[in-house]
Every structure is written in structure tokens, then in C-alpha cells.
Symmetry: D2
Subunit: 241 residues, 4 copies
């Protein structure tokens, strides 16, 4: 059983009628449904948003989370630094995390990457094609070549992040730009998957193939039997006799 928590800022849904129309119960609800649809009994999925107490990310909740999904955009600064610190500690201890779309600018992602995480963007609702460049990777299992998204915001290079441990997807846009849209990283004992499709203005999380990618990502990021433990300094005796 993988214990999943889908975290969504949840502000656009309160303010923008266009977003409410696509995601009446919030993006988190649709993302959670997609995971249940694909993973069934393999997962237990909960959700939390910015306005929950402690943003719904208390020590207890995180300690009971195997994989966290994070969507944020307009309210990155509203996330409490103490909570970011806590999430960071849990990721390094072994909790998996999926960082979605505009969460490239979330405090937690910038903290994990150590770079500016800046990129090029343009919102013309143009076609995005998501190409698999690592077809044997478990996150790409069952994904079409290419995965087509009819209307999406463009995210383009240079994306200022460290070279990924594994590059899984590369996107192109109708305007000619490219973007490393699916990348994995190990940080501490935890696994990180960044996946860029998913703007609030388009129904991307209703897309069957996008839901499959997220389900694959949850399985991949699951720490499994690895111990949950923050790496710390030790001062051991000699190991050779």
C-alpha cells in the first residue's frame, strides 16, 4: 500500500471561474482520482491545500506519507518556511515527491535543486508533444510516442535545474520550443520526479495518458522497503579489523 498525499495550493480554483469550470473540486481532486483509477488498491490517496492548518502538512501527516505530489503557482510565497523545511527533511529521509508544472518555482523545489529553476514560458494554449527518450523507464510504461496535449502553456529551455539523474520526457511546442518535461532526481534517500504538463487553464489532469504518467511516477517514487531516515554525520570506529 502506497500512502499518497496530493498537495495543491488551491487558490486559482477559488478565484478564477475558468479554472473552476475545469476543476470544480480543485486540481487535487482530479489528480487524486487519476491515481486511484490507475493504482486502485495499491494506493491510499489523500489531499491537502494551502489554507488547511499547517497547509495540511503536519509532522504526523508527512510521517504517514510515502509519496507527496505538489502543485503550486500563485501562492508559492504563502507557504510557511517551517513547513518547507519539514517537507525537505522528509524528502531527504526517503519520502518520494512529484513536483508538477508551475511548482518548478515552489520553495521546496528550489531548495532541493539549488538553482534558480527559471525557464522560458508563453501561454498561447498551443499543442505540446511529450516524447519519451527513456522507453524502458518505469515512468514511461504504457505512454504513447508522442503523448499529445492539444492545449497547454509553453515551458521552454533553458530550464535552470541540475542535469537530471534520468531524463524521461522531452516536450516540443507548436512555437518550436523544447523542454525537458520529465526528469528524475535522487536527493538524500528520497526520489524526486518533476513533470511539467499541467497548467490550471487547460484540462491536462483529465488526460488519460497524463494520469498514467502520474501513477507511474508514484510507483517509481515509492521508497518501498528502504528505511525512512535522515542522513546524518557519524563518527564510526575503523571498519577493517
Amino acid at each position: 500500500m502506497i500512502r499518497v498525499l496530493v498537495w495543491n495550493e488551491g487558490e486559482h480554483e477559488r478565484m478564477d471561474a475558468s479554472v473552476q469550470a475545469i476543476y470544480p473540486d480543485g486540481m487535487h481532486a482530479v489528480i487524486a482520482d487519476g491515481l486511484r483509477e490507475h493504482l486502485g488498491d495499491e494506493v491510499e490517496v489523500r489531499t491537502a491545500t494551502l489554507r488547511d492548518p499547517e497547509h495540511g502538512l503536519s509532522e504526523e501527516v508527512l510521517a504517514a506519507t510515502d509519496v507527496l505530489l505538489w502543485w503550486g503557482h500563485m501562492a508559492h510565497d504563502g507557504v510557511d518556511d517551517a513547513v518547507v523545511e519539514r517537507v525537505h527533511r522528509h524528502v531527504l529521509s526517503g519520502m518520494g515527491i512529484l513536483v508538477l508544472h508551475s511548482a518548478h518555482f515552489s520553495k521546496i523545489f528550489i531548495r532541493l535543486m539549488g538553482t534558480t529553476c527559471s525557464l522560458a514560458w508563453r501561454n498561447d494554449g498551443e499543442q505540446e508533444l511529450v516524447w519519451t527518450v527513456a522507453p524502458g523507464h518505469p515512468i514511461a510504461a504504457g505512454i504513447e510516442q508522442p503523448l499529445r496535449i492539444d492545449r497547454q502553456e509553453m515551458y521552454g529551455e533553458f530550464f535552470d535545474v541540475p542535469a537530471p539523474d534520468e531524463l524521461v520526457f522531452v516536450s516540443s511546442f507548436a512555437g518550436g520550443e523544447v523542454f525537458r518535461s520529465g526528469m528524475t532526481y535522487r536527493r538524500g534517500r528520497g526520489r524526486v520526479f518533476y513533470f511539467s504538463p499541467g497548467d490550471q487553464e487547460y484540462p491536462v489532469y483529465h488526460h488519460p495518458q497524463i494520469r498514467r504518467v502520474l501513477a507511474n511516477g508514484v510507483r517509481w517514487a515509492h521508497p518501498g522497503e528502504s528505511a525512512r531516515e535522515l542522513p546524518t554525520v557519524t563518527n564510526p570506529p575503523r571498519t577493517h579489523a
Copy 2:
């Protein structure tokens, strides 16, 4: 259900009493038992050796194998080139492969790596310590820090292989040498795990933690739901409308 095939050259067991004493039914039998012990119903494990017809590696057998383990040493040249070609094709098509110890000089590994695969060695039966450098990696799940092997052949750097996709283990030896002893590679659609402990003169495959590493490796190399298909040239029409 993961369909595993443990391939062992099987020549030392015929010729060397000291090896027979440790592995009376062959190293493959002990390796297979270790996998069954850890993975139980999750696997179906068969074995094959050099002297079997087609080395036990017919097209039918390979097509029904999810993960192949390969041990060889004194008879690398005795492996038929057509069989090597066939195994290579299956790995690129998605079959997982675990390459063990002296199989660094097997035809299939050299073919997959593209380098000389040479290394430094010394056989003094000295202590090897296997250190995990990627503690969140599934292949390291449940492995002690360090894993101790009382007596082993020394394999040392420079090991002439490509930089791995993931470095999981690094070993030190009593004589002071180091070796990148656990490394993963993706080739085509297939996953490759090289793991160096396991000389025929020492009972390494009876070691509970070594058996755990191999079991973890089989799980990791399993292609899962990914399609089994050789990458080929295509000449597609435009993808954008």
C-alpha cells in the same frame, strides 16, 4: 511473476574440487536458491549452462525470460557469437540482465559497454567491504553499511566501463584498492546491473546479504509493463498538424 534465468558457464565446478566443495550443484543452483528465498512467489527461476544445447539460450527461452543473470570466467570465448547476438538483442528489447563478477569480460557485457571492461585484480582472499553510496536505491534496500565479505578476490580501479547511470555500491579491499562494485545502466529498452562480488573460490553466493542484493537487482531489472520491442529506424510523417 518475474521469469528469471540464471546462466552460469559451469566449467569451474567440473574441474576444480575447491569450487565443487562450495558449489556442488553449481553456482547457478545457489544463486537460484537465493532468489527463490527472497522473492518467493514473485519469481519463477530456471538455470542454464554453457554445455546445454545453444548454451540453454534459445530464442524461445530468451523470449520467456524477464531477467537474465550471467556468470562466466574461464570460457568466455566458448560462448557462441550467434547466442551473444541474440542475448544482446533481447536486452535492447527490454530483457533485464545482471552481470556478475568475472562476467565483466563476457562477450555480452563488452558488447553492451563498448569499452575494454578491463580492471585491476589480485586474488589473496582478502576482506571486501561493500559501501552503499545510493541508500534510497531499490537495489540497496535492506543492505548493511557496509556489507562485509570476509574473503574475496580483489577487483580494483580503473574499471574501464562507461560512467554508470547510477552508482549504487563502491567496495574497498584490505589492500587499499577501491572498485565501483554495483552499477546500473540502461541500454535500449533494457536494464543492466553489474555487481562484482562473487568469485568461484569463495562462498560469496551463500552470503545472505549478497543474495539480498541479487534479489533486489532482479526486481529492479524487471521490465514490468514496458513493451518488449527492439528499437528500430522509423520514417514517420509530421507529428504536428
Copy 3:
């Protein structure tokens, strides 16, 4: 002084008037001029082609070459296996190599990669945009974002090569495809740079920015003060006292 050898199959120039029109003295001549233009006294550039004795790749010539560039397409099979073996040995010993465009299917590249090196292609003379994804890499120095090629053959994913040590460029095409168009690998002691732009039917090697990439690549692949030596097996005494 970097001693460079530009090797070109040279067959299209003999047979196709359209190629002769673009490259009257052969692609190798234009590539060599581009290197001299950018690197001046830093390089000594020679050329060789398939029909030269030993393809112009004798032991003596290779031993006096720091960086080899390789262009081939229609006559990959015409390259003698013994010469491929020799080039392979020199690369693993430390000679740099730049593999260009359709040389993805050359014997030497397949040998170095260990995979099929297959890809998707379509020749519609469409626009290629080459995006830098590693802006601090020396091979990207001075390159525009994006580098535009008005007319090129499309090369698309999945490109069946190992994940590169460094991904420098990613291209998009007017038809919507993407391609990892600039990748570096270390093999043995040698450095390998694959760069995909450069079809014989378009004047790509006359493009000032493409010439700059190749010049940067030659500098990067230069072994410098590293010893020229094939990795071999050694059997050393204990290193610790």
C-alpha cells in the same frame, strides 16, 4: 596544437550533383575550413576519405591524431572492420572523436555505444532549432539560443543510445519532433561528442554557428595532457603497506 583529422566517407560528393553543388571539394574540406577559421593556430587539420589507402586511417595517422571527426552515410559497410577496430582502440586510449549526423549508424559509433543507434527520420528540408540545455558547457560557448537551421533532415526520438554523460543540445523540428542533438560520452580514456545537424543535401557545414559548435567540440574532445594509453588488465600487489 591540436592535431585534427576530418574523415568523410566522400561518396555522395562523387555521385550526387546536388551534393557537389554544396560541397565541391567534399564535406570534409568545408568542415576542415570551419575548424581552421575558428581555431587558427590552435589546430593542424588534415582530411581523409573512404577511398584512401586504409581509408586514410593507418596506425601512424591515428597515433598522430588528437581529435577525429567522422562523417558517413551510404557506405558504412564499406569501412573495413580492422580499421574500425583500430579507431576504437585509439578512442579508448584517449583520442577524441566527433561523430556527425548520419554517422550515428557508423560501425565505430555502434561499437562505442553498444546499442542499435536507431532513430526516427524524415527528409522534408524543414527547419531545425537547436536549443542549448547546458549553457555553461564549453561546447555551447558562443552559440545562439536557439541556433536556427533553415533546412535540415529531421532526426527524432527515440534515439537508441545510452543516456549521455552530458546533454548539451536538444533540437525541435517544424513537424513537432525532438532530438537529443548534442551529447557527450567518455569511453575508456577518450571523449566522444555526437552532433546531429549536417545532412549532405543542405549546406549545414557552411553555417557559422554549426562551425562554432564543431570548433568547440574539438577543443573539448582534445585529450590535452592526459596520457594516450589503452586501459588494460593489471595484477598489482597490495597498495596499503
Copy 4:
């Protein structure tokens, strides 16, 4: 001309007679001499320490620095956060940085890595052997296999840092531990080299081969002709016509 700045905390030299005996003018002076010795006219080397105004790391100084070396240990917390922010910005903009020994716990390295940067240690003045695992890498040029340090502090795995872009050196210690002692990273437009030998209690920076590694590292980290520019968000028009 590479403009180098050697930064050293400089506190041990003030307080510990044993350190003064080895480094009477500070570790920075000896490190700087080693660079001048190997690189001569290729470099201009300055030094700065914690107690200098702004720690000697003003905007003007950093803007005129191509490669920064950083040694710190007992006073990491004494480094002003605004200065760390400034150094971070310059690294992402293209300034190279060499992070030495106990600076694994410096604010700037933790910021760049995004992990705890914790490790195992033991100070018994035991032998360290530094093995090259990437013999064609420019940082390994001219380095013996192995490089021997008679007496050093032990640093061991697990070292909680991201998997490096390139692993150049792996050390073993008399006590049996291993450590990834030479690693490169690209962050933003800048190049980062972490090199672990160099405890203040032993004369490591007087060691001719260690000085050669640092000189090689400075050359490698030099941004060369790449532009000095912080990656930022852009909102470009379509790139395809």
C-alpha cells in the same frame, strides 16, 4: 588569464599552534602558491579570509573572479547570509567554484547541493589513497594511480550529496572506508568541483599531487568564453515562423 580567488576561513591558523606550524601564512597562502606553481602566467591568484570586510567577497571582487576556491570548517555559521547569497548568484551566473574538504558543510555548498551534505568521519591521521575512476578527465591529468596521502582525516560514505555529473576520484582509508572524493557538478551556468583531501592538521596542500589536482580543477572550472549571466525567466514570442 584565469582570475582566481582562494577563500579560507582562516580561524584555525589563528588558534591552533599545530596548524600554524604547517601553514604559518594560512592555508590560503599555500593553496595560492600551488596554483601559481602549476599555472604560472595562466592565472592571477588573490586570497581572502573570513575577517576581511564582507569576508573579502564584495560584489566587485566576485565580479572579477573566474574561479573561487572555498575552505571552511569551524566558522561556517560566521559567514554572512547575504554574502552566501551573492556567491550563489555568481556561481549560477558562471563563476567556477572549488569546494575543499570540510567546506562540505559550508552554507554555499549546502545551498548548491540541496541536501544535508553529511558524511562519516574519523580523525586518526590514517593513510588515504585517492583513486582515479575517470582517467581521461582533465582534472585527473598527471595524477598518479593512486595518489597517496600519508596522514589524513577519514571522510566516509554515505556522503549525502546529489549524484555528481562526473565522478573523478574515489578514496579509500586504512580503516576500510571509501569516499567519493572528487566530484563535478554543473549548477546554473557555473561549474562546481568538490575535492575532499585537505584537513588543517596535516600538510595536505603542500603535497605536489594535491596541488596538481587543484590546478587542474581551476582550469576545468574556468567559464572561458561562456557569458556571465544569471538564468532568468523569459517570455519569448514563438520561435518557429
